[in-house]
């Protein structure tokens, strides 16, 4: 039998995040294979009501504390370290999200255990657990093992089904009393996304552009296509970071999640951070010069060609249709 596995439940603004259930689902399967107990921990302010949704775990440890409104990575790592030591935990799963960024490395440092980032799959082979991580934006995968299955693992969002982590079962909840460390980091306020001129989450048709568009001057061509189709233009992160389009047009992990009837992409590679925000679109058509671009893996139709050839041809065909 293996020592317990612990999932750090992630929540933001009073709601549990999907990643919590994705991790719980994956950890449940692993715990059953290794015959290990599955624990989950919820730290925060007014978080006690969230515990009722965590029945997939064998035990839920909750710490409700006024100072934990938005715990910084050092405070969260401090609490986890104590809990891991108290409960004899061997493996800790933490969300690979912006919200939880930084907790994993700090915890691994303090526990002197290895840290695995970008974990997308977990499997057991002859009693040893193998973690598959993505490297290079998902272009390469790597298998790693942890000595004695001990370590801290950051789980990449969208890698596991969230449904497997949900249950109506009433969890066994234990209030834990851990000292909350002082921190120099003060959370001031949330900054809500600016409305922007167009709400891309409400559009039926989105034309998406990526780094392949090369320069802001080329966006006019894309806008022409969007007009011809009655849709709006959105983009991957590099286009936004270059200042070519406003932040309100960003699709993906740190941008918007969209679900239009049609999502056409031009020069977007399909990095997991982008795909996370658009994979559920009704119809996905992608144009990319690279036949192995991961975007083709989530598209219904693909065109392996230069977007600068396809764009004008397509506008022409629509106009004459």
């Amino acid at each position: 039998m293996q020592e317990p596995i612990l999932v750090l439940a992630e929540h933001l603004k009073g709601e549990l995040a999907d990643i919590t259930f994705e991790m719980l689902g994956a950890a449940r399967k692993l715990a059953d294979q290794l015959k290990a107990p599955l624990y989950t921990a919820v730290f925060g302010k007014d978080v006690a009501p969230l515990t009722s949704q965590l029945g997939v775990a064998d035990s839920v440890f909750v710490l409700d504390h006024p100072q934990l409104d938005m715990p910084s990575a050092d405070v969260a790592a401090g609490l986890l370290k104590k809990l891991v030591e108290q409960k004899g935990v061997s493996l800790v799963l933490i969300g690979g999200t912006n919200v939880s960024a930084g907790i994993g490395p700090r915890l691994s440092f303090r526990l002197n255990l290895p840290f695995v980032n970008f974990c997308r799959n977990i499997r057991v082979e002859n009693g040893s657990t193998i973690f598959t991580s993505q490297l290079f934006g998902g272009k390469i995968l790597s298998d790693v093992r942890l000595p004695e299955n001990r370590g801290v693992v950051s789980v990449y969002p969208g890698s596991f089904a969230a449904d497997a982590g949900r249950s109506d079962k009433k969890p066994s909840v234990e209030k834990v009393d851990l000292p909350v460390e002082e921190t120099k980091i003060v959370f001031k306020r949330y900054i809500e996304p600016e409305a922007g001129d167009i709400d891309i989450t409400k559009q039926d048709i989105l034309i998406s552009i990526g780094r392949g568009i090369v320069s802001a001057d080329n966006i006019a061509m894309v806008e022409e296509l969007a007009r011809a189709l009655g849709g709006a233009v959105c983009a991957s992160r590099p286009v936004i970071d270059q200042g070519w389009l406003p932040l309100s047009r960003q699709v993906g992990k740190s941008g918007m999640t969209v679900k239009p009837k049609l999502y056409m992409s031009f020069g977007v590679s399909g990095a997991p951070e982008h795909v996370e925000g658009m994979k559920d679109a009704g119809l996905i058509i992608s144009v990319n010069t690279d036949p192995n671009a991961p975007i083709f893996g989530v598209s219904h139709y693909g065109v392996c060609a230069d977007l600068f050839d396809v764009l004008p041809a397509l506008v022409e065909k629509i106009k004459t249709h």
């Binding site: 930084g102 120099k184 306020r189 809500e192 590099p238 740190s254 139709y301 060609a305």
Partner: protein, 262 residues
Amino acid sequence: MDIFVLLKMVPDVVEELVIGENGKSLDPQMLRVKLSDPDEHALEQAILLKEKHKGTVTVVAMEAPEVDEILFTAFAKGADNAVKLTGDWTGIQAPSIARLFASYFSSANRQLGSQALVLLGSQAIDDLEGEVAPYLAELLGVPYIGVVTGIRLDEENKKIMVMKEFAGGLRGEFELPLPAVLGVQAAEKPPRYVPVAKVRSVMKSSHVETLEVPPPEGIAGLSIDRLFTPEAAGKAEMLEGAPEEASARIVEILAERGLLGR
């Protein structure tokens, strides 16, 4: 403000990545490298802060292919000092890299003062452990925030207000004292462009300091079993033919689904 920016070269993923014969790392022969994207933003953010509040920008990098050009480009953009650490880095991993930088910042004349800010890229694409920044913060005993998309300094030059990105466009504002370590995801403005001619002329007038550093001992990182390329999900039906033909097919598909003439 004394701003330090750590710069790292990573494989350019626009190129095809080839796994080496050992199956555990990329084939260095086939690799094209570039400055890690978030690092370019960290540098831009540093220069924006310097322009606003005065002070110095020092870029620090570990020796790597083509890193000199990056250091001179940083000069051309407005950095004041550049340091290249040299040594035997075979197989070095994130925890040791953090230790190496920690010892750099702990040595006699380089301790982080009350005006110091260390900027790193939020996360590079090429290493399994990642997150040198939080390790470094732990080692130096200073506060750290990652996924940063904006930094402001208060009037007394003692505290910074940091914007951190969550999801769905939601961000949070945090306040923390200097010295601090931050992982930058994006600068407030797009990274500036400098013409090659300017970089060339800077090469003649500026000097990169080199510093030999012994590799830190005894911190084993993760051991990789194997690297492999993901199986192409192969979901898309590829539309063949010239752009005109493919476009005609797209128009048919859209028409069939009632997505035209809206």
